[in-house]
Symmetry: C2
Subunit: 154 residues, 2 copies
DNA sequence: TGACAATATGTAGGCACCTACACATATTGT
DNA sequence: ACAATATGTGTAGGTGCCTACATATTGTCA
């Protein structure tokens, strides 16, 4: 008996995300730029929406507040963003891009532009794999893999 | 300017693989079984092909020998597999499943069976997302994301 | 209004993978 | 035959995400 279970999907997802992350990192590196993939979402959101809290970012990026918090820290150390306590709610910190961050964005925008084109190209070459991934996301949101498996076992 | 580059693909891949890994882990856990996702490939290969070396496993699983080596160690600690030096080549270690490993496989096979069904179900609900992922893999193998991006920049 | 629940953020530790490097053993070419 | 090279495996450390837990602040309602 040879199994070919969801790890067939999970495995592919893992492999591809690592390949893409690695190649993107290499691209920045070869251009003499230190850029961490996880920065992208936060920078992009702040760029388009202005100041946002950790929680807000975690919702729109669909990752945990913990990840956002860690990313915030690394971006703040680099001085690309800053965080100020919200006066109306002392629990929240409002993150925003610094002037240095703006400069950094200018530096990397040619790379972002290139990657965006590549993204489109790849999606075309794969018969819209993005749509398939979104369907997978929706399917799992509706009924989780855990629930689905439980039903099969019983 | 709002970018929506390959991180749009990379991000989705990362998110989905984490969701799937987490849910699968939860499934084992709730059945009182400690199972690590990374074990699946190695166990499955050894099950269907008999003893294999670290290198051979890394090739057929399309992961690095380092990952296989780490997985080997954890499976060996659990006493689910054993490794013996190859007499014809002292550099190689041949990995094989132990009797205890066989028993363990019996324990988890209902779960593997369920997950396999779920996998098929999900692939149907997503218009064959697996095919899309394989196309993405092939596209990136032919011309890497790095190369593609370089061409766009110049 | 004051205890209890909800919310926002942070820290510690885990997971599955990776590269860079180190080491031992085999293979090759002159 | 033996130095140079290739191959198999292992360790150290990194990446981006996660859960579980801790802490501080805010909101709620008897």
């Amino acid at each position: 008996m040879i199994y070919n279970d969801d790890s067939a999907i999970g495995k592919r997802l893992r492999r591809l995300s690592h390949i893409i992350d690695y190649d993107a990192r290499r691209l920045y590196k070869e251009h003499g730029i230190h850029f961490e993939q996880r920065w992208f979402g936060v920078i992009n959101e702040l760029m388009s929406n202005g100041p946002m809290s950790v929680k807000e970012l975690s919702v729109s990026l669909k990752i945990t507040h913990v990840s956002v918090s860690e990313t915030r820290k690394s971006l703040e150390i680099k001085n690309y963003i800053q965080s100020t306590p919200d006066k109306d709610d002392a629990r929240r910190r409002l993150l925003s891009i610094t002037d240095e961050g703006q400069l950094f964005i200018k530096t990397i925008s040619p790379i972002w532009g290139a990657l965006e084109e590549v993204s489109k190209e790849l999606n075309e070459e794969t018969n819209n794999v993005v749509q398939g991934l979104d369907k997978l996301d929706a399917a799992l949101t509706k009924t989780s893999l855990y629930e689905r498996a439980l039903m099969k076992i019983r």
